[in-house]
Amino acid sequence: MLDLSQHIERRITDAEILLIGCSAGGFSLVFDMVTYLPGGFPLPVIVVMHRGKNYRSSVEALLQQKSQVRVKLAEDKEQIRRNTVYFAPANYHVLAEPEKMLSLDASEPEHYCRPSIDVTFKSVADVYGSHVIAVLLSGANADGAGGLCYIAGKNGLSVIQNPEVAEVRIMPQAALDRCNPDLILDNEALFELLDKIAILHNIKL
């Protein structure tokens, strides 16, 4: 089992939301992580994945069948709930409103990406402050690095997939070059982190 300092465990216990960002090479890992989440998962999860702009995905429907948590596309002005995984829809950024609702935004792409991981990570950090766990996985550009480091700067828990094991290392490496993420995890440890989140929150309950 993942061995974490008390300090990190404390921050996991304090977290109110989990963010996952990925691009090329990270999709199947994200799908495995989502289907791995136990029913009653204590946090809401927002997944930002780069995808083609006119791509109508049925991935969420497929994942919903295989998952123990709710899986859906993020909708505009939707209340953010625990035990739910929200995927950013193609061609829209996902933002967090101060009332802990989601907003969609069709403004300029960032790093040529819409949805952009940076946009969501920064917006969620502005609302949830330090109570954020953000995980950046494999990807072929630097989107997400700025957002992850922004979260780290606000004392949220910043996590990257070890670039050595990432299918495409550019994205996690960009974060590593820019700041010191709290945790650099191999794939197995990423799943153990999900276990930890569930366990630590249930203990609190």
Partner: protein
């Protein structure tokens, strides 16, 4: 990211800025979704190199800056035939119905620089409905309205727009509708003849005509739920009976009361018809 902290604004500071803008210019931004607005203001601060203190003082002291501010905080990203599937649905499910109307008045609310409105002009033209049609484009921004009136776009964007047009079930080539001059694409006069662009604020301005079609795509998402509902009421009151309302693919009618007054024409593309 150097000096990025200089160009940040908290939600509290954003509220203060909103109050300031209302006091000086009478523009009410309270119904805007805070997260998007915050992102817009932060972006403007970056682009103009204005930390919050300077942004406030230039707003107070330079009335000419206000247009620029307004253009900066609203989203003006648009394309011709953006979301080709939407246009395809409109072509197949709405146009045949419109052919039975004597007059076809279309309101494109939040028209930005006009690309969407000219896309509708093309659809109507191709169905031989343009003679009977009139297209009104409105936006809160004076600047984009001026661009829309000109109908001159960057020639380079036409490649993407042509792809969109083809994917929307095109029967011609997009190049038949503009003249290329140097690096500009000028929309043909025959498509501009029945168009009118003017400034209209969806928050503070009311009904100004009765329409057979209202198109307002990717505008509602920038408002909070309450304001979205007020705007949809405005659309309801501006539509003739059996008129059509087209929203963005991620926008909806929200209230059950309104859902009873509209029939769904296309669930995925969010096209509705007023039936009560």
């Amino acid at each position: 990211m150097e000096g990025s902290t200089t160009y940040t604004i908290t939600f509290n500071e954003l509220n203060e800025l909103t109050e300031l803008v209302y006091k000086i210019y009478g523009l009410d931004l309270t119904g805007y979704a805070k997260a998007s607005l915050k992102r817009r203001v932060t972006r403007l601060m970056h682009v103009k190199h204005l930390p919050l203190f300077d942004l406030r003082s230039v707003l107070i002291n330079d009335p000419d800056f206000f247009d620029e501010f307004l253009a900066g905080i609203t989203v003006n990203v648009t394309e011709m035939f953006r979301d080709p599937d939407f246009y395809k649905a409109f072509r197949e499910k709405v146009l045949p119905y419109l052919a039975s109307f004597q007059r076809i008045k279309i309101w494109n609310a939040g028209c930005s620089s006009g690309e969407e409105l000219y896309s509708f002009a093309i659809l109507l033209y191709e169905e031989q409905l343009y003679k009977r049609a009139f297209l009104y484009g409105t936006d809160i921004n004076t600047r984009v309205i001026e661009q829309a009136k000109k109908g001159i776009y960057n020639l380079r964007s036409m490649k993407q727009y042509s792809e969109n047009y083809q994917a929307s079930g095109a029967i011609h080539s997009l190049s038949e509708y503009y003249i290329a001059k140097y690096d500009a694409a000028c929309i043909l006069q025959k498509l501009k003849k029945h168009t009118l662009f003017s400034v209209h604020n969806l928050v503070s301005d009311g009904v100004f005509n009765e329409f057979q079609v209202i198109v307002c795509r990717n505008v509602l998402i920038y408002f909070d739920i309450e304001q979205q509902q007020k705007i949809i009421d405005l659309f309801y009151n501006s539509l003739c009976m059996l008129g059509f309302l087209c929203l963005g693919s991620k926008e909806s009618l929200r209230s059950d009361e309104l859902k009873n007054r509209f029939r769904i024409i296309d669930r995925i593309e969010n096209i509705y018809q007023k039936i009560a």
